[in-house]
């Protein structure tokens, strides 16, 4: 992802500019941080926990305020989903699902901010030259780092629950003896590599699919917004561009919630699979 040096016309430059992260270099190679993703997700996470914990502190069992009723609605929705899939102690899984749902939802919702909002603010504050070199991607979930950070965390939780359910020995044994079961030591040794390979694929596909699904949806959504704004630059394309933009934004309201919901439900499903495996 090279920066503005790619040039090659207004729209390409525009899109490239918008798809470049605000990178803060800490060290070489891996050791740099996408400042924009980190700050936006942190602010949204704070909004979530401050909002919900305020409601939680003031929660009464009597007649709830409208705000409390809304928060309780979200909680009961998440709890219902978890209850349907996961049978067991929900004290960790349900808050995990709520965190995923609310955080991903809020991060996805940044997709609905106007594309050039932050760039314009930067322009107003620091002038056009500053804005030209100021990169900011407002949607943290359109950054693979965010989605993979979440899915890898979920992956470790899955491993933890697998080991908890089967024990360390049982978990390791199952890696080599399932899904192909064999009787006799020789057959077991022959089937072990195949079993291990299949299990590896099965386990690794979970975080990859979780992360890539969310990232792909959000990245593509962002990209389409950029292409539509390219349409709006021309005089002829302005009116249809505005209409398509509105349509895509309305469609994206659905996508935002849906992707948050899918991430949450699949996490719970994966954990319950690990938890209940025999």
């Amino acid at each position: 992802m090279s920066t503005e040096t790619s040039g090659g016309g207004g729209l390409t430059e525009y899109i490239t500019h918008h798809l470049t992260h605000n990178v803060v270099k800490v060290g070489e190679g891996f050791w740099s941080v996408n400042f924009d993703s980190v700050i936006v997700s942190a602010v949204l996470g704070l909004i979530f926990i401050v909002w919900f914990s305020l409601k939680a502190r003031k929660a009464t069992a009597g007649v709830p305020s409208k705000g409390q009723a809304f928060v309780e609605m979200v909680i009961e929705f998440v709890d219902g989903q978890v209850k349907d899939v996961f049978h067991g102690d929900r004290r960790f899984i349900a808050p995990l699902a709520l965190t995923i749902f609310m955080w991903v939802f809020l991060m996805n919702a940044m997709d609905l901010l106007p594309l050039d909002l932050i760039g314009s603010i930067a322009g107003l504050v620091g002038g056009p030259e500053f804005a030209h070199h100021f990169y900011f991607r407002a949607v943290p979930t359109a950054d693979v780092n965010t989605t993979f950070a979440m899915s890898i965390t979920v992956f470790f939780i899955i491993i933890f629950y697998s080991i908890k359910a089967k024990g360390a020995g049982g978990f390791t044994k199952e890696l080599f003896t399932a899904p192909f079961h064999a009787h006799g030591t020789g057959a077991k040794i022959i089937l072990a590599p195949a079993n291990f390979f299949l299990n590896l694929v099965e386990y690794l596909s979970k975080p990859v699919s979780l992360a890539m699904r969310l990232f792909g949806n959000m990245y593509a959504g962002e990209l389409v917004f950029m292409l539509i704004s390219g349409l709006m630059i021309t005089a002829i394309g302005f009116v249809p561009g505005v209409l398509i933009n509105a349509g895509w934004a309305i469609f994206h309201i659905l996508i935002i919630g849906l992707q948050a919901f899918i991430f949450m439900v699949l996490t719970v499903v994966y954990i319950s699979m690990a938890h209940e495996h025999h």
């Binding site: 740099s32 929660a59 069992a61 309780e72 960790f92 950070a149």
Partner: protein, 156 residues
């Protein structure tokens, strides 16, 4: 699509968020929800109980009314009986009184007629004496002939 240290930062943020939610957000809200559910369930149970009690009370009231009605009927019956008894007694008393008074009247009549007879007998005696005097045309010595006169009066 370059993976960098953002991954670690976001994972740590995620872990903190999960921990915070699990510790401070989920339990109090869930407790409030569950307590309200319990309250609502209790309220519904209480309403059901009250409805049952009302039904019981209605049944009791109907029972009481039925009993009161029976009692009233009994009282009226007893009153009627008493009334009949009193009327009968009054009738027999009246008849007895009538008979008594009739007997008294008859006794008086008898005694009165007796007296009248006596008076008449004396008058007749006096008349007879005066008639005899006139017949004899002479003075009879009352003193000398008293025993004779008395005997005569007795005969009459």
């Amino acid at each position: 699509m370059n993976v960098n240290a953002t991954l670690l930062g976001q994972a740590i943020s995620f872990a903190i968020l999960i921990w915070f939610t699990m510790k401070f957000i989920w339990p109090p809200l869930m407790a409030a929800i569950e307590e309200r559910q319990k309250k609502i369930a209790d309220g519904l149970a209480a309403a059901e109980r009250a409805r049952q009690e009302l039904k019981d009370a209605d049944a009791r009231v109907a029972d009481e009314i039925r009993k009161a009605r029976e009692e009233a009927t009994q009282i009226v019956d007893r009153a009627n009986q008493q009334y009949n008894q009193i009327v009968d007694k009054a009738k027999t008393d009246a008849i007895a009184e009538g008979a008594r008074q009739k007997a008294a009247a008859q006794a008086e009549i008898e005694s009165l007629s007796h007296q009248a007879k006596e008076v008449l007998r004396q008058q007749v005696a006096a008349l007879a004496v005066s008639g005899a005097e006139k017949i004899l045309k002479r003075e009879i010595d009352q003193a000398r002939h008293r025993d004779l006169l008395d005997a005569l009066a007795k005969e009459i």
